[in-house]
Structure formats: C-alpha cells, structure tokens
C-alpha cells in the first residue's frame, strides 16, 4: 500500500505528540482546554505536512 510521505510524517508526529501529552492533558487540576490544545497542535502538524501536497491526478 502506498502511503504518501507527508501522511506518514503526520502520523508519526501525531502519535509521538499523543504519547507525550496525554497525561499532561488529563491531569485532574490541569486547565480544561488542554485536550483542545493538543487537537490544535495535531491540526497544525497536518497543515504543515500537507502544505505542498500535490493532488493525485490519476
């Protein structure tokens, strides 16, 4: 199966981010918007990964 490098990059970064930040986000006394910050970072990674994504013309 062919996976575009940009997608692979996105998956790796997102997974690493999730591992590093899940405990921080769910801390009992942490700010309520922490999970949303993680979501935002994931979206930013995606925007960066796909910034020059050529369309598949096939």
């Amino acid at each position: 199966m062919y996976i575009p490098p940009s997608t692979l990059l996105f998956l790796v970064f997102s997974y690493l981010l999730f591992l590093l930040s899940v405990e921080w986000a769910m801390q009992p006394h942490g700010a309520w918007y922490r999970p949303l910050i993680i979501c935002f970072v994931v979206i930013a990674i995606a925007a960066w990964s796909y910034r020059e994504q050529n369309s598949d013309e096939l």
């Binding site: 199966m1 062919y2 998956l11 009992p28 999970p35 979501c39 796909y50 994504q53 096939l58």
Partner: protein
C-alpha cells in the same frame, strides 16, 4: 423571558430569505469567482456535517461523557486528516467516473445495481430519523422561546421554505452532474453563521455567566464532581466506537459524500479541507464546555442540549438568545437541504431508474429534473411525518443517534473498495445485510418500538455495534474468498484499487467513429440527448470528432459512460453503454492498453517517490533512448495498434507521435502501411534497401523487425512486433553522386587519351590535304582536298573540345587565376564573340546587368561559360528572337541567367543535360560536351548551375540557365568610389 411567535417567525423567514439571496446572487455570478471557488468556501460548506447533534447535543454529551463529547469531532477530523489515504482516492474516482453518492460508488465498484439499491435502502433507514431530528430541534427551540406557539405550524413553514430552496438551488439544470455554486455558497454561509453564533454564545457564557475566564476556571475547580466527570475516561471502547462511527460518517453519510466529492471544485480544496475542517470542528467544540457550565450555574431547568439557545433567556439577553436561535436554525436547515439533495439522487438512480426509465422520445433532462424535484419534496415531507407522527420526542433523538451508527456498516465496503480488490459483490451484500440486520434488530427496533423482541444476553449498545461490524467484515471476507468475481468486477476493482493505475481494456469497438456513437445512443436516449452527450464527452477529452483511433474511441466510450453515470447512475449507464456500444470481443484478463498506462504514469509522476520514482526514471530513460534513436522505431501491439512512434519515424513519415500512437496500422496511410504491413507479415527479419516514393521523391529504406513474445506477467500481457526503419536515402544519393563523378572522371581521361591519339593523325591528314590543294592544278582534286581540310578542321574542333573538357576537370584551383571579373564586361565580350559567327542566326540580345557585379576567378573561364550558353540559346531559338541575359546581386551572391525563346527543357532530360555527350541537337550538330564543360567550369569557379523552363507556357516556354556565384566586393574600388563621388 419569552418571545412572540411572530418575532421568531419573522427572524426565521428573514434568515431563509437571506439564504435565497446568497444562492441567487452566486448563481447570477455577482460574487467574484475567486471567492466562490476559494478552498475556504469549500471547507465551510463541509461544515454542514455539524448539524443539530453538534450544535445542541454536544452540551448534553459533554455533561454525560466529559471529553467524550469530542469523539464525533475527532472521528470526522481523523477522516480528513488522513484524507490522502481515504478521501483523495475516492475523490479521484468520483470525479473521473462522475459518481455522486456512496450508492453510485459501491454500485460502480461491485458492478451490481443491487449493491446501489441495497445501499440506498440502508441509507434511508440511517438518515430519515436524522432529518426529522433537525425539524424537531427547530420546532423545540421555538417552543422553548415562545411557549404559547404551536410547533407544527412553524415546522410546516420551515419545511416549506427548505423544500423551495432545495428545488430552486439544488436541482440545477436537471442533469445532476453540475456543481451548485449557489448551494455551496449558502451552506458555507450557514456554517459560518453557526460557528460565529456558537462562539458568540460561548463568550457570552464566560463573561455573563462567570465574569471572566479565571472566575469560570475557579468555579470549575470548586466543582470536583463535575471536573471528575469531565476527565473520567469513558467505558472501554465507547470513545473508540464513536470515533469510528463519525470517521465512517465522513464518507458514508449522504450529505458529507455530496459536499466532499460532488461539490468539490479542485483537489487542492480537499488538501486545505484536510486541516481546515478539523480546525472548524475544533473551534466549534471550544465553547461547548463554557456554555454547559454557564447553563448549570444559572440553575436552568431547560434540557441542557438547548443551552446554546436558552442561555440568553437565563441571563436575560434577547440578543444572545436570538443569536443562538439563528445558529441552531442554520445548523438544521443546511443539513436538511444537502441530505435531501443527495438522497434524491440516490433514490432516483438506484430505486426509480432501475424500474422506470424515460423513453427515447422524452426529454431525459427534464424528466430527471422533475423526478428529482418530486423526490426532494417527498423526502423533506417524509422527514416531517417522521417528526410529526411519534408523540415521544425522546424516541426521535434516540433513533437518530442509533441511525448514525448504522452508517458504520459501510466501513468495510469503503475500505475494501480502495484496498482489497479481492472483495466482490456477493461478499459486500451479504456482509452489509448481516451487519445491518443486527444493527436494526438489536438497536433500532428496541428504541423505535420501545420493546425488545430479540435480546443478545446483556450486551450493551457498544458491544452490539462491535458485533454487527465484526459479522459484517467476517461475512464479507469469507464470501468474497469463497466465490468468484466476474470479469467486470475485476476490472472495476483494478480501477478503484489505490495501488493500481486505472487501465483501459484493450479491445475493439463495434462503433468506429463518434458519429456512430451518436447513432447507436440515439436508440435509447433520443437523437438530441445522444448528440449532446457525445459532443460533451468529445469536449471533455478535447478530442476531434473525426478521430477514429481505437484508443481514442475507447477513451470516448469510457468518458461517455462516466458522463451518463452522473446522469443516470453507474449501473444504468454501464448497462446502457454495454448494450449499445459493445466491444467486438472481450479482451483477455490482464490485457491492458499500454499507451493508456504510460500516459497515466506520466500524469502520476509527480507523486512518485523512492524506488517507484527511480523505476520511473529508468523507464523514462529507456523510453528516451528509443525515442531519440536515429533509426525509426515503430512498435505494434497485438491488434496492430501503434504503441510507439519515435522522433525518427516522425521526420521520416511526417506524422507526429501524438497522431500515430493509438492508431491502427492501416490508418497510418500509404505508402507506410503497405511497406510495414508487408514486412510485418513476411518471413524475413531484415529487408535491405526497399524503395518508397514519398511526396514524389524516392526514399531507400532498410527494415528490421523483432517479435515481442507475450510476457508471463499477469498485469501486462503485451505482445507484438517492433519494426526498425533505416533511412538510406542520403547514403544512396551520395553513392550515386560518387559513381557519377567517377564516370565523368573516366570520360575525361578517355577524352584526353582519344584527343592525343587522334590529334596527331588528323594534323597529318590536314597537312597532306593542304599539300594536295596547294600543289595540284586539278580542280576536282583541289575541291576534294578542301573538303578534307574542312572535315579535319571540324574533327580538330571536336578533339579540342575533348581536350578542353578533359583539362577543365583536371584544373587545380590553386593554379587558377584569381582576379576580380566584371560580369558585365564578360557578357558583352561573349555576345561580341558569338555575333562574329556570321553563319548563325541573327538574334536580339537583351542585357540587364548590374554594373558593379563582380566575381573572383578566371575571366576566361567565365567567358567560355557564357559563350557556350549563348551559343546553345541561339541554336535553340527561332531566328530574330531575343536572348535575355540578366545579372543581379542577390544577398552575397551574383546570379546570371541566360534565357531563350526556344522549346524549353523537357522535365525528363533535366537530370541528364550536364552529362558528357548528351545532346538534343541533330547528329553532327553538337558534341554533347558544351553543357558538361559549362558545369565543370562553374564548379571550378565555386558556383552553382540550374536549368529550367523560362516561362510556364505550354508551347515554346523557352529555357533558362541560372548561374550563381559568390559575389566579390573589391574594397579598394569601393573606397575610391566613395572618395570620388562625381566620377
């Protein structure tokens, strides 16, 4: 705080009128195209998915499930974040094959009208409760804000306006294929409205409910139970199931499929949506918790789902109440419009058209338009009935939630269509039926009917969903592995599979031209529709109507099928095309159109990386070698289709590679077809120096061929013949010229020898004859002696000519005199010399010569040339006619021409006039050495000679000899002339 119904009614109607206005001005083109087609408009239009469940239900979900309320947002965002793996391949398929719904896609992939019908039926089950939920949400919010109002009246008015909008701006011109920019713009506007409304209510909640962000956080910290509920993990699997459901919904739900694929205007827009839509949902989910907390703090008794609307009521703000109301209405109306449009196409293509089709006499477009309008109306009012009939509003909400879970049953089929070519229609339908049955019996029925007819132990919803999905997948795979796929299914699987290139089949068509396509399609579609569709397909392909190449016709057929698929659905379109534009024979499995594959790879090239890119570079390198080979390369496929036509072939035949590739060999035209066909059929692998006449001139070609054996590779079983053409014309001409020069040289040597051997005896004979003439008194003897002397003189002249000719060929250029020769002087001298011969005819001479024309060389040689040419002209001309001698400078050369008014030169002797001893004069009149000598002298002077008829007259056109020499400009004389202008 309550509102008058009339106020809410006016706001609602006013808002819907604004939607009408936006759609109208967009359709009219009053909004700039760069805005209408901007990727962000597309992204916002995808926000249609955030309907009532995200606007209202999210607050309730947040209270019950904590951060679990993010599961729907995360699910759909994941689908877009991973768009290169899922959405983009599907987008390519839907754009190429004009597939406007999931039912179309699955019917296309599994090549079964039943697949489309089953998908449509399941989709109706999934979506109808969702439609009624939207109507219910609008009606309920009205009843919350105006407790005295009747919900039904407002629901009817709402449905009526939505119906009108969907009919006017969603059905377009009736073909169902066109994009609806007015609709997209309106839905984007609605998404913006609900986002802005929810954010505004969120900010209102923070500052009105708590005073500041810090106060809100402090309040939350003071509510440990609430905080604990938010951060407490959901029961194992629940979150994942919800993510999976909404991940599937991104493709499976009709509204998302419609907006994502059908209304997409450019693949780049999907790239922007891959992060833009998740960002939109993130912004939408941001104010959910503040709204919930503000609502809880206010002690409101209204259902917390409606906090976005009722929060303004609780905090006495009319403005924010109305903002919340408008946001909720936009969420509901957008979804209803898009769902009904998408479902109407599905129902038309997969429920109505299979049993009821328009006749050829009817206007198909109009017929389809009205059917679609009726379906839209029926669906919206069906949704209304679904809302109106049950007396329990909770059951509607529950059924619609469960309904969305039903869309999960399409996940195996969607993944398989891209990544598992082995899957077939039997497996798909069995799996879908099994999964849907479990979902319907154990989840839908208990909620809809209120009783459990069947039970599965103590399994909860999450477990039943998982069970239905596992059964679906297991049965799909098992049956697909145990049963055979049809050839058509395999072709379709190849087309849909992500790892494959879309390959055209290599087979002939019964229809041999675009006109025949029209004739054939007139039978089912009528002449007007058939012509319109064929012409549209030709325009799409940028193809000429006269193009009859098999490859082009196959492309035209595929394009027509795709276009008709957008009109009638893939199943009907495929059946129609198969019946009326059939292939002459079914091609073998794996036999693909190599040219089509190659052009696909070229288009795909920018996406290749790593080893694939290296292999492609290698392929291109080998191809370039063949293309640039100085030998003509023509590769023929098994049905004599031209697969390769390199640059040398292009220059040899004058037919470009673009024109030739894809043609049948017979279509390349003679003489090449005859030559190549005979050689291809012949036994020998090489043929040397065959003669071909191209545009009246001969070409000498050597041919070589090699047979390409059929490959054992499954995918490309290409066999054929490769023919090499070696153009030997230049070599042959050089050889001929060399032989000619050799012949002339040998004649020169012979002439010199003959002249030497004959000269001495002739001199002796002449001396003896003179002695006889001088010494005898016998008049008769003296007369005979005079005749002998005359004949020996003549013989001496011939001998002298031979000597001159021989010497002219042997001139060494370095020994030649190099002087500036004034051509005008030479011409005058030549005329004087010719005129001295009083035995000749009296002629007029017309001399037109530039006085400054000079050449560098031997003046005696030029004089001899001119005397010979003028003598020839005089001999060929009638008495007292005019001989024209012209001399002019043309660029860096001097051109001298001698024209007469004689009978001209027949075309057939042109090639021979410069050969020694060739003459058209009567025997004894000429030696045939004059022009040969002239030719030789002109060469010596570095010039060029050509001969032609002087005019185009049929009778006595006259001959014209043209000499060209390099011009000589004497710098000294020019400078002197410049100093003495008066001289």
């Amino acid at each position: 705080m309550t509102f008058e119904l009339s106020t809410l009614f006016a706001i609602g109607v006013g808002y819907l009128i604004i939607l009408f206005g936006i759609a109208y001005i967009t359709e009219k083109g009053w909004i700039p195209e760069r805005i209408v087609r901007h990727p962000f408009v597309y992204v916002l239009s995808l926000g249609v998915f955030a309907s009532v469940w995200s606007y209202f239900a999210a607050t309730g979900n947040a209270f019950r499930d904590g951060y679990g309320y993010l599961a729907p947002f995360i699910g759909i965002s994941l689908a877009f974040l991973l768009s290169p793996l899922l959405l983009r391949p599907i987008l390519n398929l839907t754009k190429t094959y004009q597939l406007s719904s999931l039912a179309d896609l699955l019917a296309f992939r599994y090549r079964s009208p039943w697949a489309g019908t089953l998908t449509t039926l399941v989709m109706l089950l999934v979506v109808m409760p969702l439609l009624s939920l939207q109507i219910q949400a609008v009606a309920t919010t009205v009843s919350l804000l105006a407790p005295d109002a009747t919900q039904t009246t407002l629901a009817i008015t709402f449905c009526l306006l939505i119906t009108l909008f969907a009919i006017f701006f969603g059905t377009g011109k009736g073909s169902g294929r066109e994009r609806h920019e007015g609709l997209v713009m309106t839905i984007a506007f609605e998404s913006l409205v609900k986002l802005v409304a929810l954010l505004a209510v969120g900010i209102f909640a923070v500052y009105q409910g708590f005073g500041s962000l810090e106060s809100m956080e402090q309040w939350v910290r003071d509510q440990p139970e609430l905080l604990n509920r938010i951060k407490q993990p959901a029961p194992p699997g629940t979150f994942q199931i919800m993510v999976l459901v909404f991940f599937t919904a991104a493709v499976a739900t009709p509204q998302m499929f419609y907006m994502t694929f059908h209304e997409n205007n450019h693949p780049r827009a999907l790239s922007v949506a891959s992060w833009g839509l998740p960002l939109y949902f993130l912004l939408l989910s941001l104010p959910v918790l503040p709204i919930l907390w503000a609502g809880l703090r206010s002690g409101a008794l209204t259902p917390m789902e409606y906090f976005p609307v009722t929060l303004g009521v609780h905090y006495d703000s009319e403005l924010f109440t109305l903002i919340g109301f408008i946001g909720g209405m936009s969420a509901a109306s957008g979804l209803i419009i898009v769902i009904t449009l998408a479902l109407s196409t599905m129902c038309l293509n997969h429920l109505i058209l299979p049993v009821w089709q328009p006749t050829a006499r009817q206007d198909i477009y109009r017929w389809l338009l009205w059917k679609r309008r009726v379906l839209i109306t029926a669906l919206i009012w069906g949704g209304f009935l679904f809302y109106y009939v049950p007396d329990d509003s909770q059951s509607i909400r529950a059924v619609s939630n469960i309904g969305l879970i039903g869309s999960l049953q399409f996940l195996p089929a969607i993944v398989a269509l891209l990544y598992w070519p082995r899957g077939n229609k039997k497996g798909f339908m069995a799996g879908l039926a099994a999964g849907t049955a479990i979902w319907f019996v154990f989840l839908v029925l208990p909620v809809a009917a209120g009783t459990n007819y069947f039970t599965l132990g103590n399994m909860n919803t999450r477990e039943i969903v998982a069970l239905s999905l596992v059964c679906n997948i297991a049965i799909f795979m098992l049956i697909s592995l145990l049963t055979r796929s049809s050839i058509e299914e395999k072709i379709s699987a190849d087309i849909c599979s992500v790892d494959n290139l879309r390959r055209q089949r290599r087979a002939g068509l019964t229809a041999a031209s675009a006109q025949e396509f029209i004739t054939q399609l007139t039978k089912p579609l009528g002449e007007r529709t058939a012509t319109r569709e064929v012409m549209q397909a030709l325009r799409d392909l940028n193809m000429d109507k006269q193009d009859k190449r098999p490859q082009s016709l196959r492309q035209l057929r595929s394009r027509l099928e795709a276009n008709l698929s957008g009109l009638l659905g893939p199943a009907i379109a495929h059946d129609l095309i198969d019946r009326f534009l059939p292939y002459t024979s079914i091609s073998q499995s794996g036999s693909a159109d190599v040219a089509a594959i190659e052009s696909r790879i070229e288009a795909y090239r920018s996406n290749l990386s790593g080893m694939a890119a290296d292999l492609d570079n290698l392929r291109r390198y080998h191809r370039q070698i063949l293309m640039d080979l100085p030998l003509g390369v023509c590769s023929l496929g098994p049905e004599d289709q031209i697969v390769m036509w390199n640059h040398a072939m292009e220059s040899l035949t004058g037919t470009s590679s673009e024109e030739a590739v894809g043609l049948h060999l017979s279509e390349i035209g003679n003489p090449w077809y005859k030559l190549l066909n005979q050689f291809r059929d012949g036994e020998t692998a090489h043929q040397h120096k065959l003669t071909v006449t191209v545009n009246g001139s001969k070409r000498y070609i050597s041919l070589h061929k090699a047979v390409i054996e059929k490959s054992t590779a499954r995918r490309i079983q290409q066999d054929g013949v490769i023919i090499l053409l070696e153009d030997l014309t230049e070599t042959e001409l050089l050889e001929e010229e060399l032989a000619h020069s050799e012949r002339l040289a040998s004649i020169g040597r012979l002439a010199a020898g003959v002249a030497h051997e004959i000269g001495n005896p002739i001199t002796g004979i002449a001396c003896l004859a003179q002695n006889i003439r001088d010494e005898t008194q016998n008049d008769e003897l003296r007369g005979m002696a005079r005749q002998i002397i005359e004949q020996t003189d003549r013989t001496s002249r011939i001998v002298q000519s031979l000597v001159n000719f021989a010497h002219s060929g042997a001139h060494n250029k370095s020994d030649q005199r190099q002087e500036a020769v004034v051509i005008e002087d030479c011409i005058q001298e030549a005329i004087t010399l010719v005129s001295l011969n009083k035995k000749g005819k009296q002629m007029e001479f017309d001399v037109q010569c530039e006085s400054k024309a000079r050449i560098l060389g031997d003046s005696q040689q030029l004089l001899q040339i001119l005397v010979n040419l003028i003598n020839n002209a005089r001999d060929a001309s009638p008495a007292e006619s005019t001989i024209t001698i012209q001399c002019e400078r043309i660029a860096a050369s001097v051109q001298i021409s001698v024209s007469d008014e004689g009978s001209g030169f027949p075309e057939e002797i042109r090639d021979r006039v410069f050969e020694p001893f060739f003459t058209t004069k009567e025997p004894g009149e000429g030696t045939g050495l004059g022009l040969a000598l002239v030719y030789s002298l002109v060469e010596n002077l570095g010039g060029h000679i050509d001969i032609m008829n002087a005019t185009t007259k049929q009778n006595n056109p006259g001959a014209r000899v043209v000499l060209s020499f390099p011009c000589y400009d004497d710098p000294t004389s020019e400078s002197l002339a410049g100093l003495q202008p008066d001289l």
